[in-house]
């Protein structure tokens, strides 16, 4: 595989996202910078300037018109994708940890952290109603008193948000009323990342308990578990193969006690049906914080603690590889 190295951040990457067609990658990091890149050659399209704190999350709508970002500067911002202009600024009382557009691109959600006396809240805004944005009044605001939301994605038809919590729980929050439709608790520690499969029928969760799990989006049935010996920071499902990719690491303070051989931090590939690891890709100098597949499944990207985003195009052997069965 020949990786393309994207150097545009000075601090660790917090999230990367492809747009629906896959020609663009968006990366955000702790250095307040929001970058957009061409995934074909790694050339930078531009930046979205305005955040004054670490940016935790990013999302782009299906039409690649709008970009949504959430930051530790207590704001969630909406941008025009093409021009880079900031379209809306939603002030919050605490850091915005996760955000996203629903399937239609009309409704946005974001969650805020439990900080400084403020609870964790899940907010819903309808972009078709400008007054909600102007007045900073979400049409539904859901409090989460027990365990804060650490990662969340929209369900298949924009009916609910599937959220992962600090205690390992997964909840479906209705987009109409905000109430919890379903709950499961399969993980024993914090959920670091949730991503959907390309058709939104499944979600994969990455957890601090050293496993990633595959769930059905509708029923939250637990389908598969992928075990490692390190906390998993992020996981993604291949759009075309029965594969999942996982990136992880360990507690920052223990990084120096592992092998410091160059590029030892690896992205690990598992067969989705057999739950067995079949490959690893080295290259990062620090723990991997985020992984994502290109929508066409022919490449994938990873963002690390080292501030680099690496785009890998698969060799032909990857597609022919079969575990004996």
């Amino acid at each position: 595989m020949r990786p393309i190295l994207l150097q545009g951040h000075e601090r660790s990457i917090t999230q990367i996202k492809y747009n629906r067609e896959g020609d663009l990658i968006f990366s955000v990091a702790k250095d307040t910078v929001v970058n957009a890149w061409y995934s074909a050659n790694g050339e930078r399209l531009g930046t979205y300037n305005g955040h004054t704190g670490a940016v935790w999350c990013v999302d782009v709508d299906w039409d690649t018109k709008h970009v949504l970002t959430g930051s530790a500067d207590n704001s969630c911002r909406l941008w025009d994708c093409q021009t880079g202009k900031q379209l809306a600024l939603l002030k919050t009382s605490s850091a915005v940890r996760t955000c996203g557009f629903d399937f239609s691109g009309n409704i946005i959600m974001y969650s805020t952290d439990k900080q400084m006396g403020y609870q964790c809240f899940l907010h819903y805004f309808d972009l078709r109603d400008p007054s909600q944005i102007e007045d900073n009044e979400p049409y539904v605001k859901v409090p989460c008193s027990e365990s804060k939301i650490t990662s969340a994605v929209w369900g298949p038809l924009g009916e609910y948000v599937i959220a992962g919590h600090e205690n390992g729980e997964i909840n479906q929050f209705s987009a109409k009323s905000g109430e919890i439709i379903k709950t499961v608790k399969e993980h024993t520690k914090q959920i670091n990342d949730i991503q959907t499969s390309i058709d939104l029928t499944m979600v994969i969760t990455a957890s601090k308990d050293n496993t990633a799990k595959l769930f059905d989006s509708y029923t939250l049935d637990h389908i598969k578990t992928f075990k490692t010996e390190r906390p998993v920071n992020s996981a993604a499902v291949s759009p075309i193969m029965d594969h999942v990719v996982m990136g992880g690491g360990q507690e920052a303070m223990e990084v120096t006690t592992t092998s410091t051989r160059i590029g030892k931090f690896e992205a690990r590939f598992f067969h989705a049906a057999f739950e067995e690891e079949f490959g690893r890709v080295k290259g990062h100098f620090g723990p991997i914080n985020c992984v994502a597949f290109h929508p066409d499944g022919k490449s994938y990207s990873s963002g690390g603690e080292d501030g680099y985003v690496r785009i890998h195009y698969f060799d032909p052997q990857y597609f022919e590889f079969e575990i004996e069965s």
């Binding site: 299906w62 039409d63 038809l157 059905d216 010996e229 592992t258 049906a273 004996e324 069965s325």
Partner: protein
Amino acid sequence: MRDTENMPAEAEFDEDEEPSFSDPEDFVDDVTEEELLGDLLKEKPQEADGIDSVVVVDNVPQVGAERLEKLKNVIHKIFSKFGKITNEFYPEAEGKTKGYIFLEYSCPAHALEAVKNADGYKLDKQHTFRVNIFTDFDKYMNISDEWETPEKQPFKDFGNLRHWLEDADCRDQYSVIFESGERTGIFANDAKEPIVVEERARWTETYVRWSPRGTYLATFHQRGIALWGGEKFKQIQRFSHQGVQLIDFSPCERYLVTFSPLMDTKDDPQAIIIWDVLTGQKKRGFHCESSAHWPIFKWSHDGKFFARMTQDTLSIYETPSMGLLDKKSLKITGIKDFSWSPGDNIIAFWVPEDKDIPARVTLMQLPSRQEIRVRNLFNVVDCKLHWQKNGDYLCVKVDRTPKGTQGMVTNFEIFRMREKQVPVDVVEMKEGIIAFAWEPNGSKFAVLHGESPRINSSFYHVKNNGKIELIKTFDKQQANSIFWSPQGQFLVLAGLRSMNGALAFVDTSDCTMMNIAEHYMASDVEWDPTGRYVVTSVSWWSHKVDNAFWLWTFQGRLLQKNNKDRFCQLLWRPRPPTLLDVEQIKLIKKDLKKYSKIFEQKDRLSQSKASKELVDRRRTMIEEYHAYRENAQKIYQEQRVLRLDLRGGVDTDELDSNVEDWEEETIEFFVNEEIIPLGEQV
């Protein structure tokens, strides 16, 4: 006072008669004595009372008045363990105690406990208590002349304590402590994957130890040690020793030595206790200042003797009496270190230089105390004693500063124990020694020498013709420890901890490197007792991530990687010495080819069974997964209309479902740059 003269006269009152206060003659008292005087009656002495709770202790030191208080304290401390002492009597004669005392407990059961546990207790060299129930004297005086068979004690059946040796596939067992000590498991070693035999939470509070022949598993607790064994690992014995920290078994497994820093007092030494394993009885207690060089007591190979070294003294005790051999310790001025031969009852010890007398190493035969060999050494800084596993050889590593030089050199003085008069050969080493190890069951030894980063490994053979041959030296080794296979011939050179787990597997029959590998941050290397497998592990106690144990073949082929949450320690279960004699072993080796064929077939069968199982399992998994995906796809298709609706009629189900809407854009990529200098036109 008022005058009584004017009081009205009372009826029935005669001036001359006193009123009668006695009961009428037919009066029957309805108040019992118990009710009236109950508390007083309780104290009425009963004739038979107390005698059953009295014990007589004989062989008590005879002391004068000035040490009586101290004696009473000691007795009290020892005997109040069995119950509350309500009374004591120290008969005296001519100003000293007579040598026997009477103690009364609050109930007969306590008295019986005292007899059971304190009878035979060795207070010191000259005094071993004899404890009896007072009433027993009567009993013994009146023993009938007829023999009565004593009552049988119920037999505590622990099952077959050697059960694990009967495993049909010859799997060895090992103990694993993980979850930072919360869980302990016993596994049977199978090349495919470990098989759980037993797993318990909080089985031990710190760590575990196997007895030298593998019969027992010892677990540590605040209150003492517990021994477990048999097929189901039932609890076999318990030893109460508050705050126990260290233990040691005698090689024959008959005795257990426990150490606790908490229990020591001047009068009643309890820091080190020696127990009889089978009965659970405390045999003797000892003082101990520090546990720096555990085991403090070193056992002879047959368990007949144990010895310890104190300032200028070597004390040798014999079993089962637990008394000093010949009733006195050996005075050896300046003794620095000693150790038993693992094959014979011979002790080797060394004393440093003393004015004009050179340092020397002495070999002493026990119990005769005959010095069978003495070797003088000059300009000695330090010595270390290394015995070969069977006691065939002793290597004394001597660090010396030769006269006239500044530096320090090291010599290996090799004592050939099996030859007449124990000849000694010397091997000079030019560099500092990092590690030294004898080949078990063989006559080779391996040395790691040099200084990091230039460390070399050398292999020597002690030949029969009096020569010690250097077979081979490897340089630039990443190693700081040597681990021989328990059967000899193979070894692992490991760079543990700071050397990041570098491993080298060597066959010393021709000194070839079979394999070089790495287990990053490995902290321990353990051979199984048969020498077939090696386990390298990263313990949570030394490194907080990647805690796991890896299984290798003796040739260095990696078989398994077992990650265990907060894995701490793995110990192989030792095997007892083989019951086969030399002739039988020869026979088996002759027919080895025949046996190999059978085993290989069995292995191949189980392998193919495993792969067949794996294949079947995989097939089921992928069928189930694809069935699930098909179902999901069906639901997906059914929702197509809803999707189109949400995106304003734009079909986004496939990446190319909207080709008509695509714009074609040409982007230029920077591919290459070539600079051609414009020169003279040709």
